[in-house]
Amino acid sequence: MRASRRATQQEQPLLHNSTPTGFAKMMTALFVLALLTMLAIWFGKRKAVFLLSLATLTTGIFWFNHHITDPLNLNF
């Protein structure tokens, strides 16, 4: 039987640099951009699709950079 692997809750100091700001501060924003891209495909707006895809990927890269630039205080 697999044991549940819930992490214990701990106070974690903010160790990261390069934290995104504004709307992009929410990781949810990434999926919102992806949804807008898909809606642009649905409605046939090809140029908007490329722009939104680029925005989604760029924001994703920023979030990735945020998570790899400092040691993470992980506890599983």
Partner: protein, 177 residues
């Protein structure tokens, strides 16, 4: 359509792990989900606007991004001295989800490479205009859009208006109610 349907399977599987097994996705896991949706976006563009190399490029860039994130997560958990040597989350058929993620992304790149060998299915001479969507295409599009919307809801409930915690263990918005 096969590529879109195929890439939806691990995203749906990730939701199974999240809601049935009760294991929350970490930020790197969320980025990998996003990359899988990005792979689907390129394939959706092919179905909607005709097969073009630029659409495959969207898929490849998304897969490269996803592979980078997966690799980072693998390296985090195999580093010497890692006190949590068993990795993050439960293993599925012996591998953790981020390992499967790397396999999926590299396979995607290989499949796209194979597809690009067949030059005749490219429509480079024609203007890329939106074409009518058949019902199967609309169904597949609806599935991907639904999964993306579901990710918006679950990520917002988990993280709220701030950056996601490195080790999420609750839905922050629901815990404050």
């Amino acid at each position: 359509m096969l590529l879109i349907t195929g890439i939806c399977i691990p995203v749906i599987g990730a939701y199974w792990i999240q809601f049935v097994e009760g294991e929350f996705p970490c930020p790197l896991c969320l980025l990998q989900r996003l990359a899988m949706l990005g792979v689907a976006i390129g394939a959706m563009m092919n179905l909607r606007f005709g097969v073009r190399t630029s659409h495959y490029a969207v898929t490849i860039f998304s897969a490269l991004f996803g592979a980078a994130v997966s690799t980072r997560q693998i390296l985090l958990h195999i580093a010497p001295g890692n006190p949590n040597g068993s990795g993050y989350g439960s293993a599925v058929f012996g591998w953790h989800l981020y390992t499967w993620g790397l396999v999926i992304f590299m396979t995607t790149i290989g499949v796209v490479g194979l597809m690009m060998l067949f030059e005749k299915h490219f429509e480079l001479g024609a203007v890329a205009t939106p074409r009518p969507m058949t019902k199967p295409v609309m169904a597949v599009f609806a599935l991907v859009i639904f999964l993306t919307a579901a990710n918006i809801v679950s990520t917002f409930l988990m993280c709220g208006l701030s950056p996601c915690p490195d080790t999420p263990n609750q839905y922050l918005l629901l815990s404050n109610i």
